[in-house]
């Protein structure tokens, strides 16, 4: 294993360049994971997005925005009087308040005349995978535009719940993140913020192409601990880094993020995939450098062979965990469905007004 790391270092060092923001973000997330800093998911999300944005975001501004939303949620939770009467009624009221704030249009009256209103956070159908612009994944983007995706919406929900001092858990599904909550009388239930409904586990399995092994191995549909949520941010950091620098990426940094994240969240399939794919890129670059036609051409050196084997075993492990690539047909029909859904979500009246001016 030491040899393998050395191999990455050698290749990675070719592409070393200034990446101060990423190093700062990495060390902060690392501090949260090894208990030298207190864990704050809000802060972790912010530093991840700030690193991508070249330190152009303000934590004070971000905090202020979250603070305003938190106060709004407290106001809502005082107004809500649910039929639910468990001992954890106060918590449920807070869950409901955050959900209401994120999915409903609300007016807050300061007196009989003056009020401020909030509008729901909608799903952004445009480039929801962040292929063209990675910032589409960001909570800061969600806050400013009121549109987000299955990454930023549950993140905001979790942040707000933490501010309100109730527990909300992220849960993973293939290419998807959602929220799992617990209450005394109902047990675990799922909250889906992209569409504002509450899917049952069976639906998530069926619609998401979730293999049973993946559930058994806690790859998908399991709650994430606080540290695991930070590990998710760490992988986001690495992915954003890769998006930002492309071929010029220092693969050593990405591998470092993956290794640290996987230490705390070993079955995080996105982290495993990113690590394996990074190894593959390093290997392919080495193939190009040595003008090799086949991978086996590099096996003559022990480093090359052990590196390839290490990469191979990572892919095998991912498969054993229960990861299955969604069939193309299913993925495409899912995409087309999204496009159709978009028709429903776009407010035609406002659209017509805009186009006629």
């Amino acid at each position: 294993m030491k040899k393998v790391v050395l191999y990455i270092l050698l290749i990675g060092s070719i592409n070393c360049f200034a990446q101060e923001q990423y190093d700062l973000a990495f060390s902060e997330l690392k501090g949260m994971l090894n208990d030298s800093l207190s864990i704050s998911f809000k802060r972790a999300v912010f530093v991840t997005e700030n690193a991508y944005s070249d330190n152009q975001l303000s934590y004070e501004g971000f905090n202020e925005h979250i603070g305003l939303l938190t106060r709004s949620c407290s106001l809502i939770s005082k107004q809500i009087e649910p039929l639910y009467n468990g001992r954890d009624k106060e918590n449920v009221k807070k869950y409901a308040a955050v959900f209401k704030l994120m999915t409903d249009t609300l007016k807050f009256y300061q007196n009989e005349k003056d009020y401020y209103s909030t509008i729901p956070y909608m799903y952004d159908f445009d480039d929801f995978l962040g292929d063209k612009d990675w910032r589409k994944m960001f909570v800061t983007k969600l806050l400013t535009t009121h549109t987000g995706n299955c990454h930023s919406l549950p993140f905001l929900y979790k942040i707000l719940c933490k501010e309100l001092d109730v527990k909300a858990y992220l849960a993973m599904a293939p290419n998807h993140t959602y929220i799992k909550l617990w209450c005394e009388k109902m047990g675990w239930y799922n909250t889906e913020l992209t569409s504002g409904y509450f899917p049952i586990d069976a639906w998530i399995m069926a619609s998401g192409y979730v293999h049973l092994s993946a559930v058994q191995n806690r790859v998908y549909m399991d709650t994430l601990s606080d540290k695991q949520s930070i590990a998710v941010c760490l992988i986001d950091l690495a992915k954003g880094y890769e998006k930002k620098y492309g071929d010029k990426s220092n693969y050593n940094f990405i591998a470092m993020c993956c290794n640290l994240a996987l230490k705390y969240y070993p079955q995080y399939v996105n982290g495993l995939l990113l690590k394996a794919e990074t190894y593959k890129k390093v290997f392919q670059n080495e193939m190009v450098r040595q003008k090799a036609e086949y991978p086996s051409d590099l096996f003559s050196s022990p480093e090359g062979k052990s590196f390839f084997d290490s990469m191979q075993s990572q892919y095998v492990y991912i498969h054993q965990l229960g990861y299955r690539k969604m069939p193309d047909e299913m993925y495409l029909s899912w995409l087309t469905e999204l496009k159709r859904e978009r028709e429903k979500y776009v407010n035609k009246k406002i659209q017509d007004l805009n186009s006629s001016k």
């Binding site: 619609s207 394996a276 593959k280 075993s313 990861y323 193309d328 047909e329």
Partner: protein, 348 residues
């Protein structure tokens, strides 16, 4: 590598087709209980080759079989704006261009072909049934019209010329000579001095009558000569006439032998504010020149192209040459015939 890739894809497709009927390959079609009633694929196949990230793994041996090379796949679900301009169905007229892909647009050569109607592509220029303008023949400044019936042959040669200018090889010298031979094409001649005097005449008639008088620039197809002849007379502020145009547009001016490639008319000195015969060219002139070269003459004194300026409203019907940059300052730079013919023939 790629061969195996497509083979794998085929296998995958076959698997997916049976995905919801796992026992079909053993000859049983049974009722399968699903959670989504078939809306989602819920069956996980036992294929030993699986794609993970960008590699294909053999799950039995635990070995990487190959790296996936992503060819960009096009489907209506994933279309990006830059590929939307591709055809998704074969050209119904593909048989006419059987040596090209049925999905091609203007034979993959938007430089020399155009296809405004969506029917068959044609040379960048105008076809009116009998004559095809084929542009410069690459020999000096000659412009040629191809003789009736030899369009296809000329097109092949010109294809070669276009290739040679792009890639350095293409049409042979013999081919070019064939194209330039008298049988196949005719060099277009421009009788610029006569055109100039007809413009002068129209201006003089406008000055003496106070009515707008016109001149029509014509093409005589059999000799490929561009010339001019007097056109109809209008009233003080307007003149209205149309042509049997070179480009096949509709019109009522024709003497049976000529095709119009442009027109000019005088604006008398009467500058009544209610009239539109203002110096330069009017809005009406601009509008009527859409798709057709139109010139207006400031018929205020005797010399056209000198003090009496000729203005051209542009082909697109908007800004034209006027003011400090009129077309008719001197005869040598006028070349009104050539200018008109080219703008009609090139369609711009």
């Amino acid at each position: 590598m790629r061969k195996y890739g497509s083979l794998f894809l085929l296998v995958m497709v076959a698997m997916i087709a049976n995905a919801q009927q796992p026992f079909e390959e053993y000859g049983y079609k049974v009722k399968v209980g699903t959670l989504s009633k078939g809306k989602y694929v819920e069956f996980f196949d036992q294929d030993s080759l699986v794609e993970i990230g960008s590699v294909v793994l053999n799950t039995n041996s635990g070995k990487i079989v190959y790296f996936v090379t992503y060819d960009t796949t096009y489907s209506e679900a994933t279309l990006q704006p830059e590929v939307i301009s591709r055809w998704l169905s074969p050209d119904p007229l593909a048989g006419e261009r059987y040596d090209y892909s049925p999905y091609n647009f203007v034979r993959n050569n938007p430089i020399i072909f155009t296809d405004p109607t969506g029917a068959l592509d044609q040379y960048y220029g105008i076809v009116n049934g009998t004559l095809t303008y084929l542009g410069d023949d690459g020999q000096g400044d000659n412009i040629r019209l191809v003789a009736e019936g030899s369009e296809d042959q000329a097109a092949d040669i010109l294809d070669g010329i276009a290739l040679s200018s792009m890639h350095g090889n293409g049409a042979s010298t013999e081919d070019l000579n064939t194209l330039r031979s008298g049988d196949m094409s005719t060099v277009v001649t421009f009788n610029e001095s006569n055109i100039q005097s007809e413009f002068q005449d129209a201006s003089d008639r406008t000055i003496s009558s106070g009515m707008e008088n016109s001149v029509i620039i014509t093409l005589e197809p059999s000799t490929a000569t561009v010339d001019a002849q007097p056109g109809p007379t209008g009233i003080n502020d307007k003149i209205k006439f149309s042509f049997s145009r070179f480009d096949g547009g509709e019109g009522n001016w024709t003497d049976g032998a000529h095709l119009a490639v442009g027109a000019g008319h005088g604006h008398p000195l009467t500058q009544d504010p209610t009239k539109v015969n203002i110096p330069g060219y009017s809005i009406d002139d601009s509008n009527s020149s859409k798709g057709f070269p139109s010139y207006s003459i400031d018929s205020y004194n005797s010399t056209v192209g000198g003090a009496a300026t000729i203005h051209q409203a542009s082909f697109a019907g908007k800004a034209g040459r006027s003011g400090t940059n009129p077309v008719g300052t001197t005869q040598s730079t006028n070349n009104i015939g050539r200018r008109s013919f080219l703008s009609v023939a090139r369609g711009r």
